[in-house]
Amino acid sequence: MGNMIKIGMAELNVCLPPDAITTLGLGSCVGVVLYDPTQKICGMVHVMLPDSTKIKNNENRAKFADTGIEDLLQRVLALGAVRRNLVAKIAGGAQMFAFKSDNDMLRVGDRNVEATKAKLQELHIPILAEDTGKNSGRTIEFYPETGELLVKSVGKTPYKI
């Protein structure tokens, strides 16, 4: 059994087998995994906001989908991942509260998912699996040995994507 590497909000890290990498209680944030299945190298970032260029306070690059995914890419490549092998799995972006208004501030989950997908497309990294949107929180665990992303929600049976 390997260790479970934990990342918090606006953090990123990389991971090799037999370890696994997790982030707990994703709400409107998005967990992005980049994975090279041949080298079994992976990394995860927990992004909170879609776009670093819209925010003045943007020193923490892992906080944003655009800069966070870029940095994560550099980290997995530095560890020996092969660029063309890379695939992504994403989860999160829930709308935690059932707002009736369409206030933009409150749709941040959707916007995080959109920005994540746009960034991955720009980098030509295919999304292999996703569990996004809806209205419940998720804990996710990624196992680079198998390439499986385990998603756990309250009151639901954990499942793999």
Binding site: G25, N57, A98, L106
Partner: protein, 205 residues
Amino acid sequence: MAENQIINEMQFDVLREIGNIGSGNAATALAKMLNQKVDIKVPKAALLDFNELPQAVGGEETIVVGILLTLSEDVEGMMMFIMKIEAAYNLIEKLMFMQVDRNGSLDEMQMSCLQEIGNIITGAYLSSLSDLTRLTIQASVPYMAMDMAGAILSVPAIEFGKLGDKALMIEAEFGEDAANEIGGYFLLIPTMASYDAIMASLGIG
């Protein structure tokens, strides 16, 4: 206001004091609802890294009830009241004179009871803030969700995340003892402009 630092010590003290007064008002409102004496402890205020927010309520995967209101007019932003699920069960039992199935989900009546409590508690805090600052604060209807603390707190954390990497959390404890705790935590998340408006109206720039 320095860009890297959301609030200075003096501003922090002011917000904590508003927290004190607000929790006092909330406890009074709660005592009326429960028709019993409700003790309050001095609220703890802490300026936390948003990563530390879920830790403050027992960890990312702790099940909590979150009640969220959006604010408009002079102060724009959000206000959130969070309580652990045990505290929510305790409150429902006291208010509705019933036993709650602590493993099951809450029914509609119980949910709306909690929502109303959240409304009263956040209302008490907001009216203190409004009185002290003489700013008009309009709150939305309360939105409620029950889920992992990390997920619930991601909503205010994201709003705070736009300003910086810290959030002000006020822990208000009511109730007789730990076993019967009916306390919770609140978070006030003004937008940058509203934050400045609050400070300016209190005479601290």
